[in-house]
């Protein structure tokens, strides 16, 4: 056999790509060329020895990488990427909502509702660490805006509550939310901002996001406008979800039924209301004083109406609960909203004082 051929077989064997026939062929050939056996043994040793890997540095490297990942999520352009760089490239949305947010902020200021700040330092039995708590809440029918000590701005939707400790910003920045709020979090890379809700914790690094966590609703929603957040599910803490701008995570509040395999969470893109001059995500329209339904079942619509107008809505017929409605309302009273909804869906309603009954 030609020597060239033997070396080819040797390489195939070393690379683990030789078939049984080739292995046999090589064995036969080596009998004819015994002086190759020794160098081949050494070669095999070299081939299968691994270089010392620098495992110690990997953790640091990964942490630096995560930092870059979270920065990237707010910038969206990879330094060394060009259109031809990879076969699969996902386009992302334009960043025109910055100004929309400002407009929203002003609208929210105008619509300033009742803000109550209660110092509950005296209620120490509830707070073992003896840390004073601040609670800011909005009644039904009212919205409000507050500034946290670190410069973070929070818009509170109706019937919502934000709680934070007196030492907020000292060692940590943590708030607890019940209901719905929009956070424009002040950047501080050394101190992550954490939002706790019943179902999830959201870890934030300089970001704007809307969180909807009403206890009486079916799901907890996190809609990311810009920046990066990492979400942990209380129910399965090993899952960490990193959101990109324009993404929304919906986590079910109830335990998933075993018989009906519904995912406990879903990830979707934000839905923009395009008819506006400056399109804004449906999730943040409330800040612009607009009441929006985005394909939501009447059950959910009723809850929103109750909070928005501080009324009681009774759905008399169960068949109506899951019928979905969409619409955006601005400066309309409850009667006008109900009238408009009724035009698209087959129901009748009655208004008696603060109680609205919807039936077939």
């Amino acid at each position: 056999m030609k020597e060239e051929k033997i070396w080819e077989l040797i390489v195939l064997k070393l690379s683990g790509e030789a078939g049984p026939e080739q292995e046999a062929e090589l064995e036969e050939a080596l009998k004819q060329a015994p002086d190759l056996v020794f160098p081949l043994g050494i070669l095999e040793g070299i081939w299968h020895s691994k270089r010392n890997s620098n495992a110690a540095g990997t953790a640091d490297r990964f942490n630096r990488h995560l930092q870059r990942l979270s920065n990237h999520l707010s910038e969206d352009v990879l330094q060394y990427e060009t259109a031809a760089a990879a076969p699969v490239v996902r386009s992302s949305r334009k960043k025109y909502y910055r100004r929309a947010l400002l407009a929203g902020a002003m609208a929210a200021c105008l619509a300033l509702g009742l803000v109550v700040v209660r110092y509950s330092a005296n209620r120490q039995e509830k707070v073992p660490a003896a840390v004073a708590q601040h609670q800011v809440y909005t009644r039904k029918g009212a919205r409000s805006k507050l500034h946290l000590p670190d410069g973070t701005e929070v818009w509170l939707n109706a019937g919502s509550k934000v709680t934070y400790e007196n030492n907020f910003g000292g060692a940590t920045r943590e708030v607890t939310l019940e209901g719905e709020a929009f956070f424009d979090v002040a950047k501080d890379p050394d101190m992550p901002f954490i939002i706790h809700t019943d179902m999830i914790d959201i870890k934030v690094l300089g970001t704007a996001l809307n969180v909807r966590a009403y206890a009486d609703e079916k799901a907890t929603e996190t809609a990311l406008i810009r920046g990066a957040v990492e979400i942990t599910l209380h129910r399965s803490p090993e899952k960490r979800i990193v959101l990109r701008p324009d993404e929304k995570l919906v986590v079910r509040n109830d335990s998933p039924a075993l018989t009906r395999p519904v995912p406990i969470m879903t990830l979707t893109q934000l839905h923009y209301l395009e008819q506006d001059e400056e399109p804004a995500p449906m999730e943040t329209l409330w800040m612009k004083n607009k009441l929006a339904f985005d394909g939501e079942p009447l059950q959910q619509v009723a809850l929103k109406l109750e909070r928005w107008y501080d009324v009681k809505v009774i759905i008399a017929d169960k068949a109506l609960e899951q019928v979905e409605y969409s619409g955006v309302f601005e400066n309309e009273d409850i009667a006008e909203v109900l009238y408009a909804l009724q035009l698209t869906g087959n129901f009748r309603y009655t208004i008696r004082g603060k109680v609205i009954t919807i039936g077939l």
Binding site: V11, D35, F38, A85
Partner: protein, 194 residues
């Protein structure tokens, strides 16, 4: 083979559950190999780390499309190679560049303690490896250290599978020759190109 199924498993976890732990495992598994691969083109540790980081950012941003990628490891090498090329264009302000033409710096060597060979012999082996033409050394590294198949290396470097095999043959002969100088006369005839 075992590693291939580990990678496929992590790929699925990242795609379906956005599993950060799986993402981290994949990073830990491949980061160093990709680092040395990129390093051989860009020859700067800082740039190589950044580029590998970008490759993994890219991976995260396309996580939804991962199920359609057949060989994730090769895919990542291809992205790494493209990013390296873009880095060189940007860094040296070349209008365009052909990666096959730039000089490579491939870090690969053997460790005498692990092989129970004398340091003198390890020195000879490492010298032989260092003296391999860069492309040949890169192919040797990708197959030996990164465990890639010949076809995979061919796909990553956009060369033919036969070229991969021929280059490895040359590398193997040169190293064997360093170990056992008596082979030299026969091997010398074949060292014309690499």
């Amino acid at each position: 083979m075992k590693e291939k199924s580990i990678i496929a498993d992590l790929q699925q976890k990242i795609a379906l559950y956005e599993d950060m732990n799986a993402y981290r495992e994949l990073y830990e598994l491949l980061n160093e190999r990709l680092f040395w691969f990129v390093y051989s083109f860009v020859k700067s540790r800082e740039a190589a780390e950044e580029i590998v980081s970008d490759v993994f950012i890219k991976l995260w941003t396309i996580r939804n499309e991962l199920p359609s990628i057949v060989n994730l490891q090769v895919y990542l090498y291809v992205i790494a190679r493209n990013f390296s090329k873009n880095y060189i264009i940007k860094e040296y302000k070349y209008p365009h560049v052909c990666l096959d033409e730039i000089p490579l710096e491939v870090e690969t060597s053997v460790n005498p303690e692990e092989l129970y060979i004398s340091s003198e012999m390890a020195g000879r082996i490492n010298k032989a490896i260092r003296e391999l033409p860069p492309q040949c050394r890169l192919i040797f590294q990708l197959v030996r250290e990164h465990g890639l198949k010949h076809q995979e290396v061919a796909d990553i470097l956009t060369i033919s599978r036969i070229t991969v095999r021929n280059q490895l043959t040359i590398a193997a002969r040169k190293i064997a020759q360093a170990v056992y100088p008596h082979l030299q006369p026969a091997a010398a005839r074949q060292q014309s190109r690499c």
